[in-house]
């Protein structure tokens, strides 16, 4: 392979990847425009909001428009999924999360324009930092390489440290930022060390290749010799992810940071930032366990040719089946990066697994199976502990933001549950594993709405009361009945009461647990739901049932904007609680790509 040919391939790959990366490109352009507008039109106070909103909305539209192409991806050779020579992976699950990020950002910017947290002269910076962080999250959603895992985490993390300390006048805000940055740096360091261990023992940073090498360790003694390093590496990698997810025991930053920083920043940190960590966890797990644990389908030639032409792929790259292993066509062979190619089509459907993958392993199962069990156990423990601790700690909180901080810890636990189920079933029941992943995607989508609503409530109430203590909100229903009803709906949804969307999310998560047989986790989840009742219900009780204080009784009613915003969120929870089929179908289609 001569150099020129290689450069030619690289150019084609970069061009194709950039097209798939277009939404992120739009976000970058928006950031530039924001900075320019700050320089050229500093007097236009509202302009940054509009710019950011339009930019994010354009990115959202671009991402949504990509969906039909992405939906065809499982029919394309694996090289089509990899982008930027295998650093990123463009598939429907990643796109699902990217769409969520952009959609959330659009709503979030509207919300920010309503509360106007950053001082007018700093709006541009605030939004640039926010968008930079979203960019990092998008990289996390598509990462297929440990390098990108770290890069994405840092791209999302560093701007959020600054956002946490954005209210310069408050000491608590600065403290929060410093704490957050220190914790973030430490966990990133640990994670980086874990990555080196993994890379050292598996000889690559490319996740599917690592999975491939892992699956190739069929000699039990060799595996046993390297297992300690592998386990240590995995655990250290998980430290970084757990920090980002605010899972116990890496949650210590959460209450302080949420209490110290503005509610708006909390709304960001507790929602999409967590969703990014979750998808990253799924990426790492699916890469290590064999991303192609699916039954490959041979594409319809005509459809394939059409799809291939969209991605500038030669039409003869259609995969062929050879001895039970699907291999890329001749053109794809030439096209691909050496790292990517061999991984792609190791066929691992359930029938082949018994005959090929399993026969040469010890009684304990193949290394990949062992890793799957180990990962599932670790994630399950993280989930159980986060859930229980978060709920118990939230019980005693008086500050609304602190309460929500612990509530997000608990929700991180619920979110991890279907992932644990998926990892446990990865090798044995890939179809069900994807169902579980769809459940976790559904949970994330619904959780974004609920938690944005909850934090928006704190922001609106903070603006009205100059207080974040729950007891100060007593009798709020007398002042703003519609707003209080919306808040009650959001709280009931966070508990997981039907017919609200929170119930649907929990239902799907719990159902995936029953599929995988993680009964203990299921019971823990259910008991936790009961515990969580106490503190969410207390918020509702204080706002609705308690007698208003004199200060509250004298308050003017809330502005129309705030009421509308929360009412729309609450209504969407109600609608999603009844008509959740479309969202779930979409999530299932997204998870089908893995």
């Amino acid at each position: 392979m001569n150099l020129l040919h290689w450069i030619g391939q690289l150019e084609g790959d970069a061009y194709r990847s950039l097209r798939l990366f277009a939404p992120e490109g739009l976000v970058c352009a928006t950031m530039l425009l924001l900075l320019l507008s700050r320089m050229l039109l500093p007097s236009r106070r509202r302009l940054p909001y509009w710019l950011a909103f339009v930019g994010v909305f354009a990115a959202l539209a671009a991402a949504v428009m990509q969906w039909p192409f992405f939906a065809l991806l499982p029919q394309l050779p694996h090289t089509a999924v990899g982008g930027f020579t295998g650093l990123l992976r463009f598939d429907t699950l990643g796109l699902f999360f990217r769409i969520l990020f952009f959609g959330f950002s659009a709503v979030f910017i509207l919300f920010l324009g309503m509360t106007r947290l950053p001082p007018d002269e700093d709006v541009g910076e605030f939004l640039v930092l926010y968008l930079a962080s979203i960019l990092g999250l998008c990289v996390m959603a598509s990462a297929d390489h440990l390098l990108m895992v770290l890069l994405g985490m840092e791209m999302a993390g560093v701007p959020s440290y600054i956002l946490a300390g954005f209210i310069k006048s408050r000491r608590a805000s600065g403290e929060a930022a410093v704490k957050f940055a220190l914790f973030g740096a430490a966990s990133a360091g640990v994670m980086l060390y874990g990555m080196t261990l993994l890379a050292g023992s598996l000889g690559s940073l490319h996740l599917p290749t690592m999975g491939m090498r892992l699956a190739a360790w069929t000699d039990p003694s060799a595996f046993a010799a390297r297992a300690p390093v592998l386990v240590l590496g995995l655990l250290m990698l998980l430290v970084g992810l757990a920090f980002k997810l605010s899972a116990v025991p890496f949650h210590f930053w959460v209450p302080d940071v949420f209490e110290g920083s503005a509610a708006e920043v909390g709304a960001y940190l507790s929602t999409v930032s967590k969703a990014g960590a979750l998808i990253l966890l799924i990426r790492v797990a699916s890469g290590l366990l064999g991303a192609d644990a699916t039954i490959p389908r041979l594409p319809d030639p005509a459809q394939f040719a059409a799809a291939a032409s969209r991605f500038d792929m030669p039409a003869d790259s259609r995969p062929v089946i050879r001895e039970g292993v699907i291999q890329a066509g001749a053109a794809a062979d030439r096209n691909g990066d050496p790292n990517v190619r061999p991984v792609a089509f190791a066929r691992q459907d359930s029938t082949a697994e018994h005959s090929t993958a399993e026969h040469s392993t010890s009684e304990l199962g193949s290394p990949a199976q062992l890793v799957s069990r180990f990962l599932a156990a670790v994630i399950a423990v993280l989930a159980a502990v986060s859930c229980t601790f978060g709920n118990l700690a939230a019980y005693g909180q008086r500050n609304f933001k602190r309460l929500l901080a612990y509530s997000t810890i608990a929700h991180a636990g619920y979110m991890l549950m279907p992932v644990a189920a998926a990892v446990a079933m990865w090798r044995t029941q890939p179809e069900l594993a994807r169902w579980a992943l769809a459940a976790s995607a559904l949970y994330v989508a619904i959780y974004l709405i609920m938690n944005l609503g909850a934090f928006a409530t704190t922001a609106f109430l903070r603006d009205a009361f100059q207080s974040e203590t729950i007891d100060d909100f007593a009798g709020w229903i007398r002042v703003s009945p519609s707003l209080t009803v919306a808040v009650a709906v959001i709280m009931f949804s966070l508990i997981g009461l039907p017919p609200l969307a929170g119930f649907v999310a929990k239902f799907a998560a719990f159902a995936s647990l029953t599929y995988s047989g993680l009964w203990a986790l299921l019971v823990i989840g259910a008991v936790n739901t009961a515990i969580s009742l106490f503190y969410y219900l207390r918020v509702v009780k204080v706002m609705v049932l308690d007698a208003p204080s004199e200060a509250v009784a004298a308050m003017p009613p809330m502005g129309k904007g705030a009421v509308t915003f929360l009412a729309v969120l609450a209504a969407s929870l109600l609608v999603l609680g009844v008509l959740w089929q479309p969202l779930f179908t979409w999530a299932k289609a997204a998870a089908g790509a893995l």
């Binding site: 508990i495 039907p498 029953t514 219900l537």
Partner: protein, 589 residues
């Protein structure tokens, strides 16, 4: 019919926008909506053909998909279990709105809207044919009631509302786990493993699994206990009843009426709908323990009621006792007990719902519920006293009224079981009989103190008592409250109570009409559990003969025009449909 059922269930919610801002228009609109719902649900119930299995089934896909998938349906339908409780929900809501007519002045719009949401929740619970839909409606009843108690209740309302909510929801989360486990187990039986939540499919699949021996007793018991947690809180069974008196006492009258009349029935309904048909072996195995709890509840509730000074508290504890009877009937696990238990749930709804309404009317007049504050009211309020007597007699099981029919069947069933199994359960049956006696004691004592003897009226209302007596028709709402008006029942209040009275008498004189519509479903659903319970009686031959003989005796003796059955036929309790040949149903018109 099926569309009509759909309309009936959602009519109250669809009517929400009609409930206007002003109190007068709000209560009128909600009354009209509830009346329409009542007429529709009454029509559905009386159109229900005797001997039918299911009726007015409406079903459509909710969330579905290919493997691996879930099959959730939006399915509604009536059958023998729900046919009477379903219209009872509308009837008691009708009463609840009429008794709140003047009592609720603050936030009336929200009050009536919540009542309407609650009504849809209750109707939906009893009509749901899908487990998840059932659960959705089940929880949907909690939220309105939480606010009804917490916002319009009496002094301790906040604590009561929170306690009620926490108890019920904590239990129901475990119930949800149990239901989920049932669905998963049933999915294993199917080749494609579709996770179905449709109640009939689920029952069928689980029975197939059980026949193949794939539903071991240990699994059944675990799931049974999970289901039990929620249902027992809701009933409430003895050690889990502590939320009930508090919630009842603190709730506004409408809340108490609906809580006692309908919402407690969801627990018993859950036992009949899920536990018995889906987990028959576990039901049979756990029955002795549950019977003990029920019997303890009967006696404990009755004794506690005897000691109460607050009328509402007394009736609340009497509910604990009476619902113990229902559970006793269910877990006697024979047709007599089951019919009695189900009938008694309806009876208790009518009687206790009515009693709470009457107490509410007294409270509206005198602003107190202390027994010793009253005396000789029969002379002052003769119409109210008449209703009170009727409801009391129904509650203590006077022959000729509905309570007798239910309690008699339950006790017969329990004695039959005790005699067959020879396990000392006779003690429980006898205890239940004592419960009846105690019920007569505390209820008659209450009536005697409040309505007979020397006239004694609370000071608070007594001052203007005579002023108010003159012109009952001209009294407006606010006037009514501020003047402490103590006249007899108005037409509105009579309208609230009269339908209850009609049904109390009707069920009392012609229970077979009501029982006949329950029989087919009840028999089909409970047959596995009944059999499982019988097979526990002992080693096959001798005991089985004894069982059959005893059953024959029981059949001949059984009350209320049970038709001649073919003896020794295993299908004797079925409607004949399931077994492929025709038998007359045991209870006919």
């Amino acid at each position: 019919m099926s569309t009509l059922l759909l309309v009936t269930v959602f009519l109250p919610v669809l009517g929400l926008p009609l409930v206007g801002r002003r109190r007068e228009s709000a209560r009128l609109a909600s009354l009209l909506i509830v009346t329409a719902t009542l007429l529709l649900s009454g029509y559905l119930a009386f159109a229900f053909p005797a001997g039918a299995g299911e009726f007015a089934v409406w079903e459509t896909s909710w969330v579905g998909g290919r493997f691996p998938g879930v099959d959730l349906r939006l399915g509604l339908g009536l059958d023998g279990l729900s046919v009477w409780i379903f219209p009872l929900s509308s009837l008691l809501t009708f009463t609840a709105i009429l008794v709140s007519w003047h009592a609720v002045d603050r936030g009336a719009t929200s009050f009536y809207r919540l009542l309407l949401i609650l009504l849809t929740g209750m109707l939906g619970v009893f009509a749901a044919r899908d487990v998840l839909l059932f659960y959705v409606f089940f929880e949907a009843t909690l939220i309105p009631l939480f606010f009804l108690i917490g916002m319009w209740g009496h002094e301790e309302r906040r604590y009561a509302a929170v306690k009620f909510f926490l108890f019920t929801l904590a239990g129901s989360v475990l119930t949800f786990l149990g239901l989920l486990a049932l669905a998963i187990y049933s999915a294993q039986s199917q080749p494609q493993g579709v996770l179905t939540f449709s109640i009939p499919h689920l029952t069928e699949n689980l029975m197939r699994l059980r026949a193949n021996g794939q539903l071991p007793l240990t699994v059944q018991i675990w799931i049974f206990l999970a289901l039990f947690a929620g249902f027992a809180v809701k009933v409430p069974l003895f050690p889990l009843h502590t939320w009930l008196p508090l919630a009842h006492v603190e709730a506004p009258t409408a809340g108490s009426v609906l809580l006692a009349g309908i919402l407690l029935k969801i627990g018993g309904y859950g036992f009949l709908r899920f536990s018995l048909p889906m987990l028959p072996d576990a039901s049979a195995a756990c029955a002795p323990w549950i019977l003990i709890l029920a019997a303890v509840g009967i006696i404990y509730g009755a004794l506690t009621a005897l000691a109460q000074r607050d009328i509402k508290r007394l009736i609340a504890y009497s509910s604990v006792s009476h619902l113990g009877f229902c559970v006793l009937g269910f877990f006697a696990l024979n047709p007599l007990g089951l019919h009695g238990g189900l009938l008694q749930m309806v009876n208790h709804g009518l009687a206790t719902g009515g009693l709470f309404a009457v107490v509410g009317m007294l409270y509206e007049r005198y602003h107190t519920r202390q027994i010793e504050a009253f005396g000789g009211l029969a002379r002052r309020l003769p119409i109210l006293a008449c209703f009170m007597f009727l409801l009391t007699f129904s509650s203590i099981g006077l022959p000729g009224l509905n309570g007798f029919a239910g309690e008699f069947l339950i006790l017969t069933g329990m004695f039959e079981r005790a005699w067959l199994l020879q396990r000392g359960e006779l003690v429980l049956a006898v205890a239940a009989v004592f419960g009846v006696v105690l019920a007569a004691w505390y209820m008659l004592q209450l009536v005697g103190r409040v309505f007979f003897g020397e006239l004694k009226e609370p000071v608070q209302g007594g001052m203007e008592a005579h002023a108010g007596l003159a012109g009952a028709e001209h009294v407006t709402g606010d006037h009514y409250r501020s003047q402490g008006w103590t006249g007899d029942l108005t037409a509105r209040e009579v309208l609230a109570l009269a339908p209850l009275g009609v049904f109390i008498v009707w069920i009392g004189v012609q229970p077979s009409f009501f029982l006949a519509r329950m029989t087919p479903t009840l028999d089909a659903l409970s047959r596995p559990a009944t059999r499982a319970s019988r097979s526990e009686a002992g080693p096959a031959t001798a005991a089985a003969e004894a069982v059959d003989a005893a059953e024959r005796v029981a059949n001949r003796r059984s009350a209320f025009g049970r038709a001649q059955t073919t003896e020794g036929d295993p299908c004797r309790y079925s409607a004949g449909i399931a077994c492929g040949h025709q038998n007359p149903p045991p209870f006919t018109d």
